[in-house]
Symmetry: C2
Subunit: 523 residues, 2 copies
């Protein structure tokens, strides 16, 4: 046993009386300065190389520092700068750090080494293949939500759980930890329906239509959506081109109380806040895993107060789920984990062999959604059909339609204009309807020869739309003019790229030229 | 098949004539500005939010950009800043980016999106558990060395290979790729000896002594060392407190031609340059794996031109290798991979139950090394003994001592002063000898009660030295005053912490108080 005591200096060569026996040293302080430096989500702090604080605390460039303004500290990456860009007692903050810290110009904050995180030891165990229990996952998720993880730690955690996938117990505990790390909504109605698509299919934008139909039929459907992970658009990205989606808890509750439904971004309310942090890194790595997928979907739904959830699982060789067998495995794990939370789920296997509708990208998909809701004769039939199928299951699960009658009821609700009416009212309630933006540049990709379209590679189509700028540029993406089985003639436009900048258009065109076989045309 | 052609504009709503059919868009340019921003190894670029280049290229904050000055591009993380800190046509560069790009103030550089990296697809496959072949590992290592990987990608690659460990083939191909990505030294002598410790044992600083002995006995031993990965000091960190270690190829060759040996930092010559990049991220994550360890050791040795290598493998419950069985597994893989390169290796299993010597931390360990070399009566006997054992095997492997006679020859070389003489000449040849720095603050940790030392936790001892500031503060670390089996009385100093800043001393003291059982004392 070691005691930390300074009663006897022993052989200490230069005993320093300022170091208390078990007391921490005097904390160091600096004045906060807003740099208006945009780093996306990364918390960055900059101090002078010769700052007395760096000297006293032993802070080098690229160390993780804790910055405290009153209560909870934030962890930031420290960079150092020479010269008089900053004063010696200033700490410059990136916008993300500024917001997270909640300071004003000149606020005096405490600065020091980030203490070792206990939960990082759990991540290290997981890297080496040891399973994590509920307590470990709770501490990891808690530190992640508190902003204490650097990107490399997040990347390591997510990679370890991709290489050795989560088992059912870990998935359950991760889901629970993610629910508990945020707010949890309660709704007055006994049945609260929701839907989710496990993704992997470009242009599959049924949620806005399903919410409009369900709400028009009297159900409570407070839909929250993520932004895109690895796809060119998420429902939140698409809806943001039509209305405000960053609703806080109170705003969501007001919209749902009046209209029965809403279409909000899940990250603006504090539902499963770890999810968006994980998603940011998954996006950078372009990975997602079954365990994270299940925890992401279920934690959002449970936190949002859903009781009955319909899951759209597209199946196709280039969709996220590639076979009926894989879908059934996913359904089994999803069902088992959901059951441990008392959540009723219904999975619907759908066609995932080609993109849904014709638009890929936030604003372009929004136009497809409007076309279906307004009964436009030119609306993509695939999107309309799929939305009615899913809405039908929602109506049956929500007990406003008999088994087998849901789809017909959904179609009537579209045809009689009540879904469109409800959708407009929801957008109005969320802050007013917007017109989706139009891209500055468009460019057609033409068929090099005549033949029949026999294969469409969803992944490379999605990649192409992302290179064109989606979803960061909401107007970017593409319109796909052909579907599987179509006959085309040489020179006919196969798709049209939409982009906001010449750089992005050039990258997309280069990629399209190098990946001509992403649309297979057999003469 | 898709053809990228603009012969027929098709249904393009606003066909933009500036976008050539298969030509990339006009490149964008900016003037380089040195920010004197220290970010460690990270390549950071900053442009104005309203910069025309960002607009034209569609560059958002936190995207990876390519910056080209003539030939090879570098990849950097782009941040954006509001206001007039930068001119609209300037790109501010961190010191690491400035050096990598090799520009001068105002040099016009080309800026654009980083194109998708083919090798990232290989990393993604590895994340999902697919083994990598030689071509894949060559392309990954090539892109890593070219600075095209962000930290999250490095973290993902290293984590994936920790969770699903490399097999022998992958380890071989990684080693080969790491050798080929850098320079390769050739020496005139037929036998070139080297040694390496697989680490995990604080204070195990035998290399400077072994090199001095081997060179004094006429062998060629051009030793390159890494800095610490997860330990409080590497040989390069320790040697840097005694002389210059950042020798380039020419300097190394000059030193070795005259003195027979050198003690250089491997990162300054371009031997296996990927290794130091991997090590930086492994250090942030506090992980290292057998495959990476083998590739790291062997790639450095092969690139350095070694033909015969002695490996010190400390075994103990808190060392890196915890059992004889684990050591034998490691030796088998090491031997198998080394044999594929024609490299002769000899593994020496050593006692890893407690730190070697008494010092932990670069400067403190340097003083221990000097004590052994100068024959100081107070020199730590454990360090002297271990150095003689290893030097003996080196002398036998290098054929200047008969089997079984190496250790005696090593001891004579120490005793007659020729090793100390050779060490001083090597330091002089490397740029002159320095006096290791002394820490500003020291603080003893005292025994809380009397008893016998029955266990020393190497990992927590190392962690404690790191919290005190080692190796970033070369003078920081600790002196350990007790060894296993020692009897101590209450109040007796067990160890003395050395630190350069009050902040670090405070963290170390807090950790010591919370981990009193890292030195077990049984009454």
């Amino acid at each position: 046993m070691i005691g930390v005591s300074s009663d006897i200096p022993g052989d200490a060569q230069q005993f320093h009386p300022n170091i208390g026996s078990s007391e921490p040293a005097e904390p160091s302080f600096a004045r906060a300065r807003r740099l208006r430096l945009h780093t996306h989500h990364e918390l960055v702090a900059i101090m002078r190389t010769d700052s007395p604080v760096c000297h006293a605390e032993g802070l080098a460039a690229h160390t993780q520092v804790y910055i405290r303004n009153g209560s909870q500290p934030i962890a930031a990456t420290l960079y150092q700068v020479e010269g008089d860009f900053l004063a010696g007692d200033e700490i410059g903050l990136s916008e993300a750090a500024w917001v997270a810290l909640g300071v004003e110009e000149g606020t005096v904050v405490q600065v020091g080494h980030a203490p070792p995180l206990e939960s990082i030891a759990c991540v290290r165990q997981r890297i080496y293949g040891h399973r994590l229990n509920g307590a470990a996952l709770t501490s990891i998720v808690g530190d992640v939500v508190a902003g204490r993880y650097a990107d490399v730690h997040l990347a390591a955690f997510l990679t370890a759980t991709a290489t050795l996938p989560f088992d059912e117990d870990e998935t359950y505990h991760l889901t629970r930890a993610m629910v508990e790390a945020g707010d949890r909504l309660r709704w007055p109605s006994e049945i609260v329906v929701d839907k989710h698509c496990v993704g992997g299919l470009p242009g599959n934008r049924t949620s806005p239509i399903v919410v409009a139909i369900a709400a028009a039929c009297g159900l409570t459907m407070p839909k929250t959506s993520s932004r895109a992970i690895t796809s060119p658009a998420g429902t939140a990205d698409t809806m943001e081109t039509l209305t405000r989606v960053d609703l806080d808890l109170g705003a969501m509750q007001r919209v749902v109380a009046v209209e029965g439904g809403c279409l909000a971004w899940g990250g603006a309310v504090c539902l499963s806040p770890a999810d968006d942090i994980f998603i940011g890194v998954e996006r950078a790595l372009d990975i997602d895993t079954e365990g994270q997928l299940i925890a992401s979907v279920l934690s959002k739904k449970i936190a949002a107060g859903a009781t009955h959830v319909v899951l759209d699982i597209p199946i196709g060789p280039t969709a996220k789920v590639r076979s009926v067998a894989a879908a059934e495995r996913l359904e089994a794990t999803l069902g088992a984990v959901a059951a441990r939370f008392g959540l009723v789920i219904r999975c619907v296997q759908t066609d995932g062999t080609q993109p849904v509708g014709r638009a890929i990208g936030p604003a372009l998909e929004a136009r497809d959604v409007l076309a279906v809701l307004t009964g436009d004769a030119d609306a993509p039939p695939g999107l309309r059909d799929r939305a009615c199928t899913l809405a039908g299951v929602v109506l049956e699960l929500g007990k406003v339609a008999e088994e087998g009658q849901g789809r017909a009821r959904a179609e009537r609700t579209l045809a009689d204009g009540s879904a469109w009416d409800r959708f407009q009212r929801i957008c109005q309630a969320q802050g007013g309807m917007r017109t989706p933006p139009t891209a500055r540049l468009t460019h057609p990709i033409l068929a090099a020869h005549s033949g029949r379209v026999t294969h469409i590679d969803n992944r490379r189509i999605a990649r192409l739309a992302k290179l064109a700028g989606a979803p960061d540029s909401p107007a970017a993406g593409m319109l796909l003019h052909v579907r599987l089985g179509d006959d085309v003639i040489a020179g006919q436009p196969l798709l049209t790229l939409h982009a906001q900048s010449q750089g992005e258009m050039a990258y997309a065109l280069t990629y399209a030229a190098a990946n001509a076989d992403m649309l297979a045309i057999v003469p």
